[in-house]
């Protein structure tokens, strides 16, 4: 029996986020409720089956094991967030879109390849938008600023490294 912490009454409780492509390949998974590795595999398999086989003009919401899966297709990728029955599905559909818009802004016209080769960045961004399964930040500007601050650390560190290695290279000539 797949369990989830359904007893917390929250403003919105997202149990997990899954990104898969049309072939069912996983591009990103984030779990906010307890699921063992085995359960996760089962969840992904079942949800992929449901979502990938749904016709294009139907609801973006699907019943699944007493929960609701809200999903949306963007080019070759399906973004899926799982919520409780009583939550506002339309709002969650837009939370997905909010995440996609931030990704788009960050990568500059994001595509599946960006997420494949930079999945760790997709996680850092997701961690600014959702936290503990709830919406954390609705301002794209704020998310972008935080990610930029983190990225500038990366740049600064690289510069430091390259300048150090230059010094070493000079010294050992």
């Amino acid at each position: 029996m797949l369990i989830h912490i359904g007893c917390w009454v929250c403003v919105v409780q997202i149990h997990f986020v899954i990104l898969i492509n049309r072939q069912g390949k996983v591009r990103l998974t984030k779990w906010y409720s307890p699921y063992t590795q085995k359960e996760r595999t089962k969840v992904i398999r079942e949800l992929s089956g449901l979502v990938l086989n749904r016709g294009p003009k139907l609801c973006n919401f699907v019943d699944w094991r007493g929960l609701k899966a809200v999903y949306r297709r963007y080019a070759s990728l399906y973004f899926c967030m799982c919520i409780d029955q009583d939550d506002n599905e339309l709002e969650v559909l837009e939370i997905i879109h909010h995440y996609v818009e931030v990704l788009d802004r960050y990568f500059g016209s994001v595509c599946e390849l960006d997420l494949i080769f930079n999945f760790h960045k997709a996680y850092y961004i997701l961690d600014e938008i959702l936290i503990a399964g709830e919406l954390q930040e609705s301002s794209k500007k704020t998310v972008a600023r935080l990610i930029a601050a983190q990225d500038s650390l990366v740049e600064a560190a690289k510069e430091q490294e390259s300048s150090i290695s230059n010094i070493i290279a000079q010294a050992t000539k």
């Binding site: 307890p34 590795q37 709002e91 961690d127 301002s139």
Partner: protein, 493 residues
């Protein structure tokens, strides 16, 4: 074309440097992308796991390399394989002073571990230290980890520091600290019960994101004890009014709506505070009507806000004007014949208003029937839920018969069980005659007998044994006969 894009991207990444540099990882991702079957993909991943197992225990691995190994492990687990041999290395990375290494370590442990994992004990000290860091980005990384990895037992170790961070100069830190306290409340309400005043104070934080975050714990607290927060009704209404009037910075606009996610949170809170309370509700009517008027009906988020307004109207003390507004919102949703999403939200909203205004379903009868017969299963099921809530003695036969027909067509046993139970419940509650009751139960058992609760079967047997209290013995025994033949059918097939 696709190939060119890949090469171009590789070149770009090579010049960017950073994580994307390793050819090994690129090759791994490419080969998995080109795998023609799950079996082939599994083989590649398992081989990668063997490689990592060997290399990760080598002595003197450069930190950059270890960082990459950990990312590869994250990737492997994302694909459904076990990388637990690497967890300890991720934990060690969180201890590192270099923020890049530390950050990768935190990312990895929040993906690998859950709050009950044995390794948490090795991270708590680091988290405690990092929460006190001068670098707010380190504090943020630690708070992210707190929101994922702290459970009831470890709350005391970090609570004092997190409470202090609620007043940190950086808004990102304050926001995350509040979300952390919210999570502590969910894990152990008593651990933060003395901090409620913090949440109240942060409602008036200068930063809208911090204010928005505060609504999360407040919502939970109000759910449990609305009375203690009635004094905040006026504040919430005032905030909602200001938000709707575009008084927050433009960066909180989303698709031309002013801070709609915050509007939605506030509407949910008001719904709780106004339930059964005429006085509290009276403060809310104007603002809810205004928001309904202002909301953008052409966007999803606008309709999400409108839906929330209807939910609020349905929950609080009823008001005729608000009911009318809610009803027209529902009409508009149901009329969108090309939007399954909106019709779905309309049916859901309708079932919330049913209690207050039973006639409202009749007004939308045709639209409801259309939804019932739609090929979209999600919409159909939502409509059956509406029917379930609309059932009374006068319509129970039609509704239950229709529901059973649908139940027969369902393959999904989870949902079939739910529908079967609903039919039984309605039959027991509203059955117009014993004959109909028996026939209905028979149909349910015939098609979902193995799914129906044992207790229900026993109740039925009991009923038959006791008789139905009919005065006419002939009728009674006739019913018993038909009941027995019915049960005989499903007991012995």
């Amino acid at each position: 074309m696709e190939q060119l894009r890949t090469i171009g991207r590789e070149l770009a990444m090579g010049s960017q440097g950073g994580f994307g540099q390793s050819k090994e990882f690129l090759d791994l991702v490419k080969s998995i992308g080109e795998a023609r079957s799950k079996a082939e993909e599994d083989r590649i991943v398992l081989s990668e796991i063997e490689t990592l197992k060997r290399r990760i225990i080598e002595p003197d691995i450069p930190k950059r390399k270890m960082k990459e190994f950990i990312i590869r492990l994250v990737y492997v687990e994302m694909l459904g394989h076990d990388a637990s041999f690497g967890y300890i290395h991720a934990v060690k990375m969180t201890h590192d002073d270099n923020i890049l290494i530390k950050r990768t370590g935190y990312l990895a442990v929040t993906l690998f571990l859950d709050e009950n994992h044995d390794l948490i004990i090795l991270i708590v000290n680091t988290i405690q230290k990092d929460l006190k860091s001068d670098n707010y980005l380190v504090v943020c990384a630690a708070l992210n980890a707190v929101c994922r990895l702290i459970n009831e037992e470890t709350i005391p170790a970090v609570l004092p520091q997190v409470v202090e961070l609620v007043n940190h100069p950086k808004e990102a830190v304050r926001k995350k600290a509040i979300m952390a306290l919210h999570r502590f409340y969910q894990r152990s309400p008593s651990s933060v019960s003395h901090l409620v005043s913090n949440f109240r104070k942060k409602l008036s934080d200068n930063d809208p994101s911090v204010m928005g975050a505060t609504l999360c714990p407040l919502y939970d607290l109000i759910t449990v004890d609305a009375n203690s927060y009635k004094d905040l009704v006026v504040s919430f209404v005032s905030i909602l009014k200001q938000v709707a009037e575009h008084r927050l910075p433009k960066s909180y606009d989303y698709h031309q709506m002013p801070a709609p996610y915050i509007q939605i949170k506030l509407l949910k809170i008001l719904a709780l505070l106004g339930t059964g309370d005429k006085q509290a509700s009276e403060h809310m009517y104007t603002v809810v009507n205004d928001i309904t008027r202002k909301a953008d009906t052409s966007s999803n988020i606008g309709n999400a806000v409108l839906y929330e307004c209807v939910c609020c109207a349905a929950a609080i003390y009823p008001n005729p004007k608000l009911m009318e507004t809610a009803s027209s919102t529902i009409s508009r949703f149901l009329k969108q014949s090309d939007s399954h999403n909106l019709r779905y939200m309309g049916i859901d909203a309708l079932s919330r208003l049913i209690k207050l205004n039973p006639d409202i379903a009749e007004q939308h009868q045709l639209a409801v029937i259309d939804c019932l017969e739609d090929r979209d299963d999600t919409l159909k099921r939502k409509t059956f839920e509406l029917l379930y809530r609309m059932t009374k003695s006068s319509n129970v036969e039609v509704i239950v018969d229709r529901t059973i027909d649908y139940m027969i067509s369902i393959n999904d046993s989870y949902y079939k069980t739910e529908i079967a139970s609903r039919c039984v419940e309605l039959a027991e509650q509203y059955a117009p005659s014993n004959q109909w009751f028996i026939q209905t139960m028979n149909k349910v058992f015939e098609h979902a007998g193995d799914l129906v609760n044992r207790k229900v079967v026993h109740n039925l047997m009991h009923l038959i044994a006791e008789g139905f209290g009919e005065d006419d013995d002939a009728v009674d025994s006739q019913l018993r006969l038909s009941a027995v033949s019915v049960l005989d059918h499903f007991l012995f097939t």
